[in-house]
Amino acid sequence: MKVFLELGWFFKQEKKAYISGVLILLFVALLQLVPPKVIGIIADHIHDRTLTKGLLAEWVLVLIASGLAMYVLRYYWRIQIFGSAVKLSKILRNQLYHHFTKMSPSFYQKNRIGDLMAHATNDLAAIQQTAGSGVLTLVDSLSTGGFVILAMAFTISWKLTLICLIPMPLLAILTSWFGTMLHKSFYKAQEAFSSLNDKTQESIMGIKVIKTFGQEKEDIEDFRRQSEDVVQKNIVVAKIDSLYDPTISIIVGISYFLSIVFGAKYVLNGELTIGQLISFTTYLGLLIWPMLAFGWLFNIMERGSASYDRVSALLREKVEIKDTANALNKVPVGDIEYQLAQFTYPGESRPMLKEIYFSLKRGETLGIVGKTGAGKTTLLKLLIREFEGYQGKILFGGHPLQAYKLDRLREAVGYVPQDHFLFSATVAENIAFTNPSATKQEIETAAKLANIHEDILQFTDGYQTVVGERGVSLSGGQKQRISIARALLMNPEVLILDDSLSAVDAKTEEAILSSLRENREGKTTIITSHRLSAIQHADLILVIDEGQIMERGTHESLMADAGWYKEMYLHQQLEELVEHGGQ
């Protein structure tokens, strides 16, 4: 019942729908009592040979009226109650989405996307079921059950009612127990299914390896084994599922048997008429559903409650990175200065960055090099405030980053991430991501700067080609260049290329870098790269290792310093130098 209390805010908000829905349900439950009663009355008249045409027509009219009324009323409560439930899932879905858009990357590190998807789909479905079928089941089983029992006890025989109700609680208990078992075995079957899914996914991703090693047959055999597991787990589900109908039929059978045996006794000693006995058995038929429903209700509520807990927990997660009070409502412009004593990722013990001190004049280019995992990307992520909680400060245009509104700060930055992500939309829409109303010309200019324009023209639909997960597949280099164009379209104050040229060849890299140099006069650019050629022209180069600046300077000064940079540079040149006799 807890879940109904927790959903109280929604019931209150939709009280008109719920109150009218419940009232209609109660009324339908009453109307349901009419047909069995009419059957009994007519049967008695037939038995006693007292039926007249007038009487028959009267009762048939009653049946027609109640039937039509029930039809209309049943339609309306469905709209009210089920409709509200759909509305609830819509509201919660929007809330979740809104919440997701506010969460920072540390949230996405804690929660896997698959899990978040599951919350937004399965959990919402369970909650919707609670607010719809749950409410219906609760009200309907109580009211129909209650009314039928009352009708049986008061209009026919309370003794007979008690007798035939004896086996009924067993029905509720057993079906509820089956429900729990079913849920558990179903979960196992789902697990087997999802590992089959993973297996399939893996085989398809690794199809080249399988084909190369000629292991198709063995892989199909492996698939057969896993699919057999799915079958076995599902047979367990089928067995539990198949317990329902026989159990119901036995228990209800006993109930019928009792009511006929004892009912017959009461008919014989004149306490009942035969028509009443027939009404009684028809009423008994009406009791099956509320009993089943009661068992079912607990399962629905249990699931709904667990789901609602999970969804609320998600919604309660605090937004970590937000605007400070009195944040400046202007786009930052100017020099960038890192005065960073230390930064540690939440949940980690080892600091990721230590003693990062440097400043970069507006319009300069910063190059950052270092091994994978040295902290290059982290350094950049702090600038766009994806993470916070460092010791020290980062100044942009003379103010700490936190002094600006987050939105304004990010307006100044064009970020090209390492893992290029494109949306399932056209190339043009992807490039114009920051400004959907950008003109064709603006889009093409950005694409030309990123050296992807020619490639795009080769695509089947040019700029209108759909890319992303559900579109045509592009090479890594093409995706990287579209990501670069996307960042360039906003003509940002600061452009960040986070190892974004790794998948393009040296020639394309060179072309992109030189077009950037020409077109970003007076604007700041930050580049991280494994290839030294990409950062060779930077005004300041930082060599980072294990979160610390090991070397700094320009290409020339670093070469003169004769440290890691030079060693790396020489390494990349070694063979070349041998060839050219030390030039």
Binding site: R74, D198, Q215, K239, T434
Partner: protein, 599 residues
């Protein structure tokens, strides 16, 4: 996301027939399940008749002999119990058959996928192939498990009820037949409208989920480019449409589902009561018969309700089935080898020749133009060129991932088409640019499905490529768990494992697609040493991104837009001062050393 989901009636029927044909191998089990079904149905029909006998022969005439009543009562309860037990086995039997049918279908689809050429995988996103194999077959499973068995069970039950009604009272039985067309009308109407609205809702739901999934994946992009508001609005709009579709479904269900069936039930009651009422004006009517009829009419509608609730599942399954069959009928198979040959050709030397090979993926634009070269046994041929120059296509043809139609590729003087698949797989070893690791252990990943390979062989292979150093440092060594796609290993480590895998198979010819980015200098040195060792004694075709790694190649082919524009050894090419030379200077950050490095 999915193709258009509307199917004509004819198509629907064909899909259904084809799905049902999967039941053929299970004839015996189906016959048993049917027998059980018939028995339980007989039980269902007989029980109300026993009550009728009791009411008419004993209760109404007040003839209450003890023995016959005990017999009657125990028969009633006996049938009740036997029926329940048979019912359990019958239900399980139908589900079991359905599950095995689906397993077979699944295996067929999976095997089919394995037999398709890489062309298909290029065009089709992995997610949608996975969907065909698992989710679509799952939808068909729902149909077999719930729809078909419900339809059969309900159908038999309805038939039983009608037979019994006819036996009790022919005239009334005939009158009750009127109910059938009315029910049919409701079912037809419901099918017509619900299938439309239901599909619409599914479509909206899949849009909603696609949007959500994509937003979550790209959230950092959304945030860094400040597009949260726009995406919220877009999501809310899709959500609203999904809500509307949901409401339409509720309305159509409320109009034509349970409420409508309950109304027809009342109509059935009226027929029965009126008939008996009118009959009773002239003759006596036995109350037991009324009881039995009321009881039958009562139970008549539950199976109908069941069937109608399953209709949407049926629709889904048919759509899923048509998608699955489309895949099963797909004809872009992997390139076949010439079968009718007298002798088995074997690769002995490993001499590779490309003779005037041209190739196009789409049949329009040639990605390879007149490629000719020879790799003598034990030699290394390196392919260089910028992205899209055709390097990978050469390897794709060499590995028989794609069929070529112009020119000839031969090994040891025989067309590559004439070797058995087995022979090619054994003698050709490919190392991919992005080495794919499977879920399992390190050992599993080195030996793959070759069960006969001993642990020593696995370790030897690892040692050969110097992967043993890092593997032995792992917590469980060769039994260390590899998570999905080997995400816990660095790309260099993954590369080394892939090397070990290839070396363990001991190929005669090595085909290498060199990894480029993101490998640290330290790992890279290990990789270079391993590569040099692997190449020894093997003919090697290698794609090189870093020119420094192939300086000792016997032949370097420089590709540009599908053509070989330069060829020779490293030294020769450098002295030619052509494209290779420029690429070399650029890659070494020495572009200032040539006057005009970029055309």
């Amino acid at each position: 996301m999915e193709e258009k989901t509307q199917l004509s009636n004819g198509e629907q029927r064909r899909v259904l027939v084809r799905l049902l044909s999967y039941a053929k191998p299970h004839k015996k089990e189906i016959a048993i399940a049917f027998l059980l079904l018939l028995l339980t149905t007989v039980g269902d029909i007989v029980l109300p008749l026993l009550v009728k006998v009791f009411i008419d022969d004993y209760l109404t005439p007040r003839k209450l002999d003890f023995t016959p009543l005990v017999i009657l009562g125990s028969t009633y309860m006996g049938i009740q119990f036997v029926k329940a037990i048979l019912l359990f086995y019958q239900l399980v039997a139908f589900q079991r058959i359905a599950l095995y049918i689906i397993q077979q279908l699944r295996i067929d689809v999976f095997a089919k996928v394995q037999s398709l050429g890489l062309k298909y995988f290029d065009k089709t996103p992995a997610g949608s192939i996975v969907s065909r194999v698992t989710n679509d077959t799952e939808a068909i499973k729902d149909m077999f498990v719930t729809v078909i068995s419900t339809f059969i069970q309900s159908g038999v039950f309805l038939a039983g009820i009608f037979i019994s009604m006819f036996i009790l009272d022919i005239k009334l039985g005939l009158l009750c037949v009127v109910l059938i067309p009315i029910l049919m009308l409701v079912i037809v109407l419901y099918r017509k409208y619900s299938s439309r609205y239901y599909l619409d809702m599914r479509e909206r739901l899949s849009q909603l989920n696609a949007k959500l999934s994509e937003s979550l994946q790209g959230m950092s992009i959304v945030q860094v480019f400040r597009q949260e508001k726009r995406l919220r609005a877009e999501f809310a709009a899709i959500n609203e449409k999904h809500y509307d579709a949901g409401m339409k479904n509720i309305k159509i269900d409320a109009l034509l589902l349970r409420p409508a069936i309950d109304l027809i039930y009342i109509f059935g009651l009226i027929i029965v009561l009126t008939y008996f009422g009118i009959t009773s004006f002239d003759t006596t009517v036995k109350i037991g018969v009324i009881y039995a009829f009321i009881n039958y009419v009562d139970r008549f509608f539950e199976p109908v309700n069941q069937m109608m609730m399953r209709l949407s599942l049926y629709q889904q399954a048919i759509v899923a089935g048509s998608r699955v069959f489309k895949l099963l009928d797909h004809e872009e198979l992997a390139p076949a080898q010439e079968e009718e040959q007298k002798q088995e050709f074997a690769i002995e030397e490993g001499k590779i020749e490309f003779n005037n090979v041209s190739f196009s993926y789409d049949g329009k634009r040639d990605v390879l133009k007149n490629i000719s070269f020879t790799a003598n046994p034990g030699e290394t041929v390196a392919l260089v060129g910028h992205t899209g120059s055709g390097k990978s296509s050469i390897i794709n043809l060499m590995m028989r991932f794609y069929e070529f139609d112009r020119g000839e590729i031969s090994i040891d003087g025989q067309s590559i088409r004439r070797f058995s698949k087995q022979e090619l797989r054994e003698k050709l070893g490919l190392v991919l640019q992005d080495p794919f690791l499977f879920y399992g252990t390190v050992k599993d990943n080195i030996r793959l499905h070759q069960k006969t390979m001993t642990e020593e062989q696995v370790e030897e292979a690892a040692k050969f490529v110097q992967a043993n150093a890092f593997i032995e440092k792992l917590e469980k060594g060769y039994n260390h768990k590899v998570v999905e796609r080997g995400a816990t290993f660095s790309s260099g480590q993954r590369q080394l494992i892939a090397f070990a895998r290839t070396i363990a198979a001991n190929p005669k010819i090595l085909v290498l697609d060199e990894a480029t980015a993101n490998i640290d200098t330290e790992t890279e040195e290990a990789i270079q040493t391993a590569l040099a060792k692997m190449r020894k004694g093997r003919t090697t075709i290698a794609i090189a991104h870093r020119l420094s790694t192939i300086q000792d190649a016997d032949l370097i082919l420089v590709l540009h837009q599908g053509e070989i524009v330069e060829r020779g050894t490293h030294q020769e090419l450098l002295s030619q001062r052509g494209l290779y030379h420029k690429m070399y200077l650029l890659q070494n950050g020495l572009s200032q050393q040539v006057e005009d490095p970029i055309h």
